[in-house]
Amino acid sequence: MTPNSKTETPAFARITTRREFGLAVLIALITIFVSFFDPRFLDAINLRDIIVRCAPTAIVACGMMLVIVTAEIDISVGSLMALTAAAMGIMLSENEWNLSLWIGLPATLMLGTAVGLLTGLLVTVGKVPSIIVTLGLLTALRGFTTLIMGGKNIDGLPPSLQHAAKQGFWGIPLSVWVAACVLVMTLVIIAWTPLGRRIFAFGSSRYAATMCGLSEKPLKLFVFAYTGFLTALATIVDVPRLPTIESGIGLEFELLVVTCVVVGGVSINGGRGTLLGVLLAVVLMTMIRPVLTYLEIGEEAEKWTKAIQGTLIAIAVIGDSLFRRRGRGESRS
């Protein structure tokens, strides 16, 4: 950054140095590459499948993004997803309590929000670092879920819920509609509400925020509660799509979500990141599995799946920070 560059940076240069651009190019390249091998990759049904799989990750990533923007982290969302799934199953299943949807779903959402709120309280009032709170919850909630499920899977969710999750409306499952709503809602929060601006302001500079008289507690309580709420929401719209509710639901989901948010360009030091970047990262991370299937890489190569995923994450994150280093270098300490 030379101090005398008063002229505006050319729009093209500005776009190309952004994370979103890099991700979009990567997604495009991969798509072109795989559809060269197998044009069916671009079939509507496949694209629909990929979008459906993106939905739950995208929903929770919206909350996680805000958490990371405030320079905190929440690694308990996977276990929370299992807990809310179990709670939802127990409340709604015809083999269990068989409650009405109008009671069961709000109760599930409240449970998720409550756990998020608890995290927020421990972080703001209890002053326990968020990584520790959520690491504790990661193990504790998983154990608790297994305990209340008592070694059984839960079937018999209301058919209306299952139908909404599988077929949905106008051929698009409920989760996609909900994800779209959540994305819009989060976008509104970020761009159109004082709350969202303050969350970013706080993450950008704690010192400046204090000088402006912003207070920390309500912001952090909100981001954690919001993430909890969204996790419950993702559970409600996505889990009925699966064959059954088992205690392993959401295993390593927290890693996926955090990875998406980080790959999407949200700074782990807070303050910086865009929803578009996160969304693109979700798409990128989700499309790796189907891409490998479509490439028909064969049985032996299948065992390299994790290595390919890991390398891709490493390249996306490390390569990008190296690339971006040149543009910055100022104003952060």
């Binding site: 950054m1 030379t2 101090p3 005398n4 560059s5 008063k6 505006e8 940076t9 500005r14 509104v188 761009a191 159109w192 509400t193 004082p194 601006r197 303050r198 970013f200 302001a201 993450g203 950008s204 500079s205 010192y207 400046a208 925020a209 204090t210 000088m211 402006c212 008289g213 912003l214 700074s267 303050g271 910086r272 543009g327 910055r328 100022e330 104003s331 952060r332």
Partner: protein
């Protein structure tokens, strides 16, 4: 004690500061300070570093609260310790350090914390904010890309955005803390024009600056603080720069031109090879062609305005920052750039400007801080010797007269002066032969300051080559054998310590050449 022209009409009076006291730790930052600011005037606040200006600003903006005394604005008491409350009362501030949010764009920076809203306060009035931001910036004569994060904008534009933020809240009193410190001459002129414009709109301005010519250009009246105490308020017509400097420094200038401590004649020592030799040192956009040398036992002062590049030169010499061209030689040994360890190895030591973050590890004990820079000298067969560690800490505490009851206490519990002595002591333990001191007495009380000065002189007499950077001219004049004045990254002038005067230094620092 109050000499200021009492504004008799109460409607002429905007802000009354009445017998304010504030102490940090053991240091009295403000002591019984009282003065008034009139409506629609540009009121300059002057004083050397550590005089208490920043503390006063923090009190006025509600960041901290006074220990005693009252602040009255528009005949109503200011809500002390409440940022929003002070803002609502009509006080806006342009901070010295950037309080901008580097990741937010200009619009958000202007409005964070007091957003314009629609829909019953739920949503942001984005268009209105954008419009208003554009208007504000236009008033300021800036065309800024409103969508770019502020961190990517040049410094001057960031400053303008902060300015716009301050102006957006319909303030009656605008506090500007060193607004031109990091601006070029041209940009500074623009800023000054703005100040005049604001004044015409009937806004009072409390203007803090070290640049005297600016004060004479725009201020109506001047209040001088010294060592936390109120000195005087004068109408600017009654002052000239000499007198103002004298008020700030607190002594007659003539008195100062006579060196208090005359060092031994160095003439025979100039034959000795110099301890430090800097040749053609340059760093793109920061400093250029810096060449000088320091002989053993010599104290070289480095004067200049804040932001002139003094600290950056020192940091580059010490290996904290890289440099592009030139060489640094210590005792005949070439130093590779960018390695503090190497610099330490050849006997260089540096007391950095930012004591709290760079000089000390605050939560660590005094003893551990005192030994941090020469741990390797305290080891027996690879293990730290506790006896020797304790011994060294004890010796340094005694030698430097550090006031601490127990060396195991965290260093953050000490007063500023004692903390500074710890930083110096930490380096003395490694027995350097070249000491760089960056603002060695900033925020240090008078008694401790004198001790530090004596110490520096003693060390030089023992043969230490010393480079002192200070914004306090009296300090430079008192201590230095030779004085370099830095102006916009270059050595603008060189003076003999024995003959230089404050006026000469100021002139060189402001104008860039010797008078």
């Amino acid at each position: 004690m109050m000499i200021h022209s009492q504004a008799t009409q109460s409607d002429r009076l905007l802000l009354r500061i009445d017998r304010i006291n504030k102490a940090y730790g053991g240091v009295q930052a403000l002591q019984d300070v009282s003065f008034d600011v009139g409506r629609g005037e540009v009121h300059a606040l002057c004083g050397e570093n550590g005089a208490g200006k920043s503390t006063l600003i923090k009190l006025l903006t509600g960041v901290t609260r006074p220990d005693s005394g009252s602040l009255v604005m528009n005949q109503r008491a200011l809500p002390v310790g409440n940022v929003r409350g002070c803002e609502a009362a009509g006080i806006a501030v342009l901070h010295q350090e950037s309080t901008a949010f580097p990741d937010l764009n200009a619009i958000d920076n202007i409005f964070v914390g007091r957003e314009l809203r629609v829909a019953g306060g739920l949503l942001l009035a984005r268009d209105a904010m954008r419009r208003e931001a554009a208007e504000l910036l236009e008033q300021l004569g800036e065309s800024i890309d409103l969508t770019v994060p502020l961190g990517q904008l040049p410094l001057a534009q960031r400053q303008m955005v902060s300015m716009a933020r301050a102006m957006s809240c319909q303030c009656q009193l605008f506090i500007m803390d060193e607004p031109t410190a990091s601006l070029s001459a041209q940009e500074s002129q623009k800023m000054l024009a703005l100040v005049k414009q604001l004044k015409e709109q009937g806004i009072s301005i409390l203007y803090v600056s070290h640049r005297l010519e600016e004060i004479f250009q725009i201020a109506d009246s001047v209040t001088v603080l010294r060592d936390g105490q109120y000195v005087a308020t004068h109408a600017v017509e009654d002052l000239h720069d000499r007198k103002l400097i004298q008020l700030m420094v607190g002594r007659e200038l003539d008195e100062l031109t006579v060196r208090q401590t005359v060092s031994q004649s160095k003439s025979d020592e100039t034959q000795k090879p110099s301890t430090l030799k800097v040749d053609q040192l340059s760093r793109q956009g920061i400093f250029q062609d810096v060449s000088f040398s320091i002989a053993p036992g010599e104290i070289v002062g480095m004067a200049g305005l804040v932001g002139a590049g003094r600290s950056e030169i020192a940091r580059a010499i010490f290996g904290i920052d890289p440099y592009d061209e030139g060489t640094v030689e210590v005792n005949g040994q070439m130093l590779p750039g960018g390695s503090v360890a190497r610099a330490k190895h050849v006997g260089m030591a540096m007391v950095p400007e930012d004591r709290q973050h760079e000089g000390l590890v605050l939560p660590m004990s005094v003893q551990n801080n005192l030994t941090l820079a020469n741990l390797r000298d305290l080891q027996d067969f690879g293990w730290l010797s506790q006896t020797r560690e304790r011994g060294q800490a004890k010796r340094l505490i005694a030698d430097l007269d550090i006031r601490v009851t127990d060396p195991q206490l965290p260093v953050e519990t000490l007063s500023g002066g004692n903390q500074q002595k710890v930083v110096i002591g930490k380096w003395l333990a490694s027995m350097p032969n070249l000491l760089i001191l960056d603002e060695p007495t900033r925020g240090v009380d008078v008694a401790a300051k004198a001790q530090v000065h004596r110490l520096i002189r003693e060390l030089a007499d023992e043969g230490m080559a010393t480079l002192i950077i200070s914004s306090e001219l009296s300090e430079i004049l008192t201590l230095s054998d030779r004085i370099l004045v830095i102006h916009q990254g270059r050595i603008a002038a060189e003076f003999e310590g024995a003959t230089a005067t404050q006026e000469q230094l100021l002139h060189a620092a402001l104008v860039g050449s010797a008078s």
